[in-house]
Symmetry: C2
Subunit: 410 residues, 2 copies
């Protein structure tokens, strides 16, 4: 009799964004002419950089001729892309990352989801709260989460609340943890850590032989000086941290799919007997056994983001979104709402007015103003009383949304 | 202290194809002018179908404009591709597969590797021997394999030998098994099962509530009538089988990355208490949580394989490879070698002459004839004494290889 992985039965039925989609669809059926503005799901709207478009056309033509055709490539990514990543994202910033520490993949969702494959099920996991749901769900699937309590918390997960009360800076856990998920600039709150705040975590991990899974998918949005772009800017981090980066929000690759993960060779984890094992080797084994590389044409598109034209085009797009973020932030602040994020991030984290719950505010915005946000509680218990708006809309829609938001009666 | 998944430490250090690559590189350094013909790794050499090239150019242009840009798509694949798959690969053959039973992915390596995620670790796994190494390795990682014995076998895996002695038709296991991997047309042996031979396995699975993981990556190469293209041609299979299909060998997508997996809604697995659970629901949860879909431009390339022009182009390429297979098969048979496969498959499975081991024959071919094959033993203990050649080379190289092979002194 074939048995299932019973951890899956613990997962709540519906995924946050599916639930939002269902509510929006119901609204649109009831109000077919309503002009709904979607500032909910974190998807981009601007086209790919022209440099990537040109690179893809060229690569497609290469696939049309036996002389230039590419079959299986290295699972870890082609040298042309890996070298470009190392040079531009690390060496240019004084960080010494080697090419065999970089693993190109189809997305940070896959990588942050799959990384647990190489880690033991007995590790204690700490997660900032609110958080990207994939971190939690994939630990439930792996059996590291325990059971879901009525308070919305999993019994074995250590939650690190990040709210206005602690200025969105997580405090060190009171009990020992083995794996810590950190995402900065943060999804969903759009807030950041300074270098000294991040150092606290690297030091904790060094002292406790813990592993930091550092998701920096939004680093391209950083505008302030003291905010680290890479965790490897912190001394000692190569011994304790894996870094996830993505082209999705940087260069509009949400439907084009390319990301990469850095697993330093200095990074060790342990057997139950305390023997050191290189996580780089384990991840390489997983990546080459369960993955066959990113499409050649997509890797060429990613490489093109680093050409002088590509960099300029990427920068322009990010400035466009950051300008949207500023419009939302300032508009809502003028309106008397408490607003966080949006300075080093495309996400704006709004405190719901008048003690409304996240879903009440979501329903209010959808039904009264025809704006779709994301209920903060969908990202975890400490997200209750907040709502996430994103800057990925068009300038026109963003301005229109702010005009509508000014109708909120506080 | 962060703990690793200790199952990874059981895996032998080197992957079959890496070891071959190492030997070939060493040979080329020692003999820089040698004209090495690679008939080893199963990678294609013909370019993509022109229909896919045109579809990709069009899709790339769509990504260049905000009006037609595509961000996140459905993780399970766009309707345009899923509908095309269902119509052409199933409904046209009288098989009733629904669109929500099809999951588009980046490759069958990923899917056959990741499918274990939704299955319990206590399942007993049966694997035909020789076999695609990913099936074994991913079960080692999941803790279902036990330990590696000196006979090259994992203690918990049930091996189903497929050799010339049983005409490459596996016998039912003597002890009960829960999960059965079947790949037909077979990699590596190139042999097939008839409908009645496959029915034996479906009946076994129905009777024992077992799950068949059916890899039909090579179905497009079937030329004979009584060989099933899909396991769903067998009555009852939708209750017991998941089918994996790929564009890699069909349409030259090894470097372009698209595949799909069918998980019927009738297919149930069980909790330890014996409660039925739909594997379609579990796989959908995994696929949407740990994967973000195949690139839009790649899905358009895959869709184009089903247009009238695309179908013609795909057929022409497969006929080209099958002609190569015929040349190898007939050339080696004339030479007095025992040869299997190559009729419904791009793979030719050669019995090594004079009692040579697989690696001895590999070394002989590399050093004496400058031909790269794949040692059969690399696919499992029952592959010892065989070597795999593939038909994916050019016609010219294939003919030249056969001329060289005629120099073998038996």
């Amino acid at each position: 009799m074939v048995l299932i992985n019973e951890n899956y039965t613990k997962l709540p039925g519906s995924y946050l964004f599916s639930e939002i989609a269902r509510k929006v669809n119901e609204f649109k059926i009831a109000h077919p002419t309503a002009d709904v503005i979607r500032l909910g799901i974190g998807d981009v709207t601007k086209p790919l950089p022209q440099a990537s478009i040109e690179a893809m056309h060229k690569a497609v033509d290469e696939m049309a001729s036996a002389e230039t055709f590419r079959g299986y490539g290295p699972e870890q990514g082609y040298d042309f892309l890996v070298n470009t990543i190392v040079e531009n994202d690390y060496k240019a910033h004084g960080l010494n990352i080697q090419t065999d520490e970089v693993f190109v993949s189809d997305g940070s969702k896959s990588d942050t989801g799959n990384i647990g494959d190489i880690l033991g099920t007995d590790n204690i996991v700490a997660i900032t709260d609110p958080v990207y749901p994939v971190y939690i769900d994939t630990n439930v699937m792996a059996g590291r989460a325990g059971d879901l309590g009525t308070d919305g918390k999993w019994t074995k997960i250590i939650y690190l609340p990040c709210t206005a009360e602690n200025n969105f800076v997580p405090e060190l856990p009171k009990t020992k943890v083995d794996i810590i998920y950190l995402c900065y600039p943060n999804n969903p709150s759009g807030t950041t850590l300074t270098k000294s705040e991040l150092k606290v975590w690297v030091d904790y991990a060094l002292e406790n032989k813990a592993l930091i899974l550092f998701d920096s998918a939004y680093e391209a949005y950083i505008t302030e000086d003291d905010v680290p772009h890479s965790i490897y800017e912190i001394e000692g981090a190569k011994k304790v941290a894996i870094e996830f980066r993505s082209f999705s929000k940087t260069a509009g690759f949400t439907g084009t799919r390319c990301a990469y993960t850095v697993v330093p060779k200095d990074l060790m984890a342990y057997t139950s007997k305390g023997e050191e094992v290189s996580l780089n080797k384990l991840w390489n084994r997983r990546h080459t056994t369960k993955f066959n590389g990113v499409p050649y044409v997509i890797q060429r598109a990613a490489e093109a983001c680093y050409s002088p034209e590509g960099k300029k085009q990427v920068k322009d797009t990010i400035e466009y979104y950051l300008n949207n973020a500023k419009i939302i932030r300032e508009g809502l602040t003028e309106q008397g709402l408490k607003v966080y994020g949006g300075v080093n991030s495309p996400y704006i984290w709004v405190k719901t007015p008048n003690g409304m719950s996240s879903w009440e505010f979501f329903d209010y915005l959808l039904n009264e103003l025809n704006i779709v946000g994301t209920p903060g509680v969908g990202f975890g218990p400490s997200g209750e009383g907040y709502l996430r708006l994103t800057a990925f809309g068009t300038l026109e829609n963003t301005k229109e949304a702010v005009l509508r938001l000014k109708k909120i009666k506080l």
